[in-house]
């Protein structure tokens, strides 16, 4: 067989691999994906979709009910809730995504090194991770944000820090199951360096599980960010964040409950979507996990 035909077969196999992967996704995963994409579109096109300015106050219209002027009503300063919801999506998605990307890189790296090297390094790295893991993510995030100040970067760092151990654990477990496989021994016999074996050969094998973890943790990150904002450690006003909107709404819940309900539903929707995606991916990538749970 010529070289070209081998390549064609490989591509075909990859394609069919992707197709079979996609075909295995269940309906709820699709629902999750659609919701996330829709919210992403809302965030990107917020200026086009918005009907008002997110920080413009109209005191005369405070706590206005949903209607033609204000699609989802107005808050205590007469700011349009629909507009603030759209802009708020930017912060929720940005924080959810970047915090988890940072945690994914940091945690996976730490876990892989610990798993591959074993011995003392493994013990030290994982003990540290266990200490971090011992704190509930909200409490730890709260302490870090209070310490560093509530800026976008700091919130991302704080949430990433709380999520890192989860990735370290899963990456380490993956590496330990792979490290004694024949292909790894073959690599070692060929004299490949440790990093090369780890990052070029072992990593692809553990990545799917890490990705499942990432989508599930994105939900947690969104939730943590909203919780921080709710207790007053979110981005400074007038930045519209969903958690901050719930906080504002909560103070007026007896006068106008839509202030709190609308952003709460948005948070619910995004968290649900990430969970649906995570569950779906998990079912496809590692059905055993489903049985286990």
């Amino acid at each position: 067989m010529s070289e070209r035909s081998t390549a064609t077969v490989e591509i075909r196999e990859r394609k069919s691999g992707f197709r079979s992967f996609v075909s295995k996704l269940n309906i709820s995963t699709w629902a999750g994906l659609i919701i996330v994409l829709a919210l992403l579109a809302a965030a990107i096109f917020a200026p086009q979709l918005a009907t008002h300015s997110p920080s413009k106050q109209n005191i005369m219209d405070q706590l206005a009910e949903p209607g033609s002027q204000y699609l989802l009503g107005a808050d205590q300063f007469g700011r349009d809730i629909w507009t603030r919801l759209l802009y708020g999506a930017r912060y929720s998605l940005t924080i959810g995504f970047f915090a988890i990307v940072v945690a994914l890189f940091a945690g996976t790296f730490i876990g892989m090194i610990a798993g591959y090297r074993g011995g003392r390094i493994d013990i030290i790295f994982m003990q540290v991770m266990d200490v971090v893991l011992a704190f509930p993510s909200l409490i730890l995030g709260l302490a870090l944000v209070a310490l560093m100040g509530a800026t976008l970067t700091n919130i991302i760092i704080a949430i990433a820090f709380t999520a890192t151990p989860a990735f370290a654990r899963i990456a380490r477990a993956g590496v330990i199951t792979q490290r004694d496989r024949e292909y790894v021994q073959a690599c070692q016999a060929m004299g490949f360096s440790g990093p090369r074996i780890l990052f070029r050969h072992i990593m692809p094998a553990i990545l799917p599980e890490v990705m499942v973890m990432a989508s599930l943790w994105m939900a947690t990150a969104v939730r943590t960010e909203a919780s921080l904002a709710f207790i007053g450690l979110g981005l400074a006003p007038p930045t519209p964040t969903w958690g901050g909107m719930v906080r504002d709404g909560f103070d007026n819940i007896l006068s106008a409950f839509h202030l709190a309900i609308v952003p709460s539903l948005a948070i619910l929707l995004l968290v649900l979507a990430f969970n649906l995606i995570g569950d779906g991916l998990r079912d496809v990538i590692d059905p055993r996990l489903k049985d286990a749970s």
């Binding site: 005191i59 400074a236 007896l254």
Partner: protein
């Protein structure tokens, strides 16, 4: 043998027994539960108590030589408290107070004597142990003539001697023995001779009080008072609605008022003094060291919008740097009314044609949070970006006193004579970060001369003229921008009777007296 009683006999016996049993007396309840907009207490050493809740609580625990008649803030209605009577020398310099005998300290600290009074007033006048020392600068000597007589000698005649001796700020008398024994812990374990003693503080949950059994006006009708920290306005409202608390701090907000008045049997007390909120501008820090920038800020603030947000029932636009109920208040002071164009012109002139960004540490107390956000939106319109840094209220009180915020929006009410407000907020002795620091956040010193001269001026007309001049100078130098005056507001269920007509409270919250009770 098996004896059977007819069922009807049994029923009759049971009914008879029930009738004979003593009926539980339908006594009114004696445990009061209040909901406050706070997360915790700060300092209950009355000579430092600054926040609204601390002031409210120290007024239950402590008393003064004299007191404002409960429910009033009128200096003309000051009445005896610990002092039974007093004499003044002909030259007005020597004041002799005769103390009531047998007045007992709380927690078994014995009788209140002249020695305690001397100790307290000396502490109040000592800037190292009091935040109100400047009010006692004319007090030359305080001495105990005998256990029940205190003589105060003044270095010069001052207009209102009873003011600093009333149940307010530095006027509260503390137990010498308890203070010396408890040291720093006194702030959380205070001992006074007022009607209610503090038993425990559950951090973040509640402060628990019991009646001071030996209170000299008689044992209080209430046996226990729980002051719950319910910082979330909604949680507080819900607790009130469910009857978990008998009275709550209200919100100076029209929607809140409408909603609360709609509840059956609820009374809303709106009371003086209205707290004057001023946006203090630190004139030492750039960009505010430039007068034009301060002026621009003054022109950029449209206080009517904050007043409108709160509602006319509670709030009016403030037009001077002392509260409008103060003796010596004037509106003829060069007050800069809102003018966005002028603000922009001044900014451009000062070298900020594209606007500027400034930082402000902001309290998370809902009333501050909302006013500051309205302010933020207003300033944005003239190109000033106000970066708010929200922190918890007690932390905010600490941070602004460390000179950490170039802009400080601060609401306060003081003894209603212009001297007190002017001294505490605009005299150089009160500049934050100094040894004698009080609340001069702006580092203002332009009216020192007038404030000091007014303090010793014996001609009332001239004194008022000096205070008016001081206000003009402070407004001219834009040490602060007055925004609003907001009255205090509490809501209570109808069966709670404060024991007086609640029209005012120097302690910024309801005073509890021996007569406070439930009517059913």
């Amino acid at each position: 043998m098996n004896i059977k009683f007819p069922k009807s006999c049994l029923m009759a016996a049971m009914l008879g027994a029930t009738a004979l049993a003593p009926l539980p007396a339908l006594a009114a309840k004696t445990e009061l539960s209040l909901g406050a907009g706070a997360e915790d207490i700060g300092r209950l050493d009355p000579h430092y108590a600054a926040s609204t809740i601390d002031r409210t609580l120290v007024a239950w625990i402590f008393g003064g030589l004299v007191r404002f008649a409960p429910g009033t803030t009128d200096p003309a209605q000051i009445e005896p408290d610990l002092a039974e009577s007093w004499d003044v020398s002909d030259d007005g310099l020597v004041w002799t107070f005769k103390l009531r005998e047998g007045v007992q300290w709380q927690h078994g600290y014995g009788e209140v004597t002249a020695e305690d009074v001397v100790f307290s007033l000396e502490k109040s006048a000592d800037p190292e142990r009091s935040a109100y020392a400047s009010e006692y600068s004319a007090f030359e000597k305080v001495e105990a003539v005998d256990p029940y007589t205190v003589r105060i000698t003044l270095s010069q005649v001052i207009p209102n001697v009873l003011g600093p001796l009333a149940n307010y700020a530095g006027g509260f008398i503390i137990s010498k023995k308890a203070y010396e024994e408890r040291g720093d812990a006194f702030s959380r374990q205070p001992v006074g001779f007022g009607p209610f003693q503090l038993d425990t503080v559950e951090s973040g949950v509640a402060a628990h009080f019991t009646a001071h059994q030996d209170y000299f006006r008689g044992e209080p009708e209430l046996s226990k008072v729980t002051y719950r920290f319910l910082n979330s306005a909604s949680a507080r409202d819900l607790a009130f609605l469910a009857g978990e608390v008998d009275a709550i701090t209200g919100l100076a907000d029209q929607k809140w008022l409408e909603r609360t008045l709609a509840i059956d049997g609820v009374t809303v007390d709106v009371f003086d003094p209205a707290e004057l909120t001023i946006l203090h501008i630190n004139s030492q820090q750039p960009p505010f060291d430039d007068l034009r920038v301060r002026q621009a800020l003054a022109y950029a603030v449209d206080a009517s919008r904050i007043a409108q947000y709160r509602g006319p029932e509670f709030t009016r636009v403030a037009k001077s740097v002392v509260p409008s109920n103060n003796l010596g208040y004037t509106e003829d002071n060069g007050y800069m009314a809102f003018d966005a164009e002028k603000a922009q012109e001044l900014l451009a002139e000062a070298g900020y044609p594209d606007g500027l960004t400034v930082k402000m540490i902001s309290s998370q107390l809902p009333s501050y949070e909302s006013s500051n956000q309205i302010l933020q939106a207003q300033l944005e319109e003239v190109g000033i970006t106000l970066e708010l840094e929200p922190v918890e209220h007690a932390t905010w009180h600490q941070m602004i006193r460390q000179d950490l915020s170039p802009l400080v929006s601060y609401g306060a009410a003081r003894f209603p004579v212009a001297d007190v407000y002017l001294t505490q907020f605009f005299h150089s002795d009160s500049i934050v970060g100094t040894d004698t620091a009080v609340t001069n956040f702006s580092h203002c010193d332009v009216a020192d001369e007038q404030i000091e001269a007014a303090r010793v001026e014996t001609d009332p007309q001239k004194q008022i003229a000096l205070w008016e001049e001081a206000q003009k100078l402070i407004i001219e130098a834009v040490c602060g921008v007055p925004t609003t005056e907001t009255a205090g507001v509490w809501a209570r269920h109808g069966n709670l009777d404060w024991g007086f007509d609640f029209k005012g409270s120097m302690s910024l919250g309801p005073l509890l007296t021996e007569k406070t009770r439930f009517t059913d």
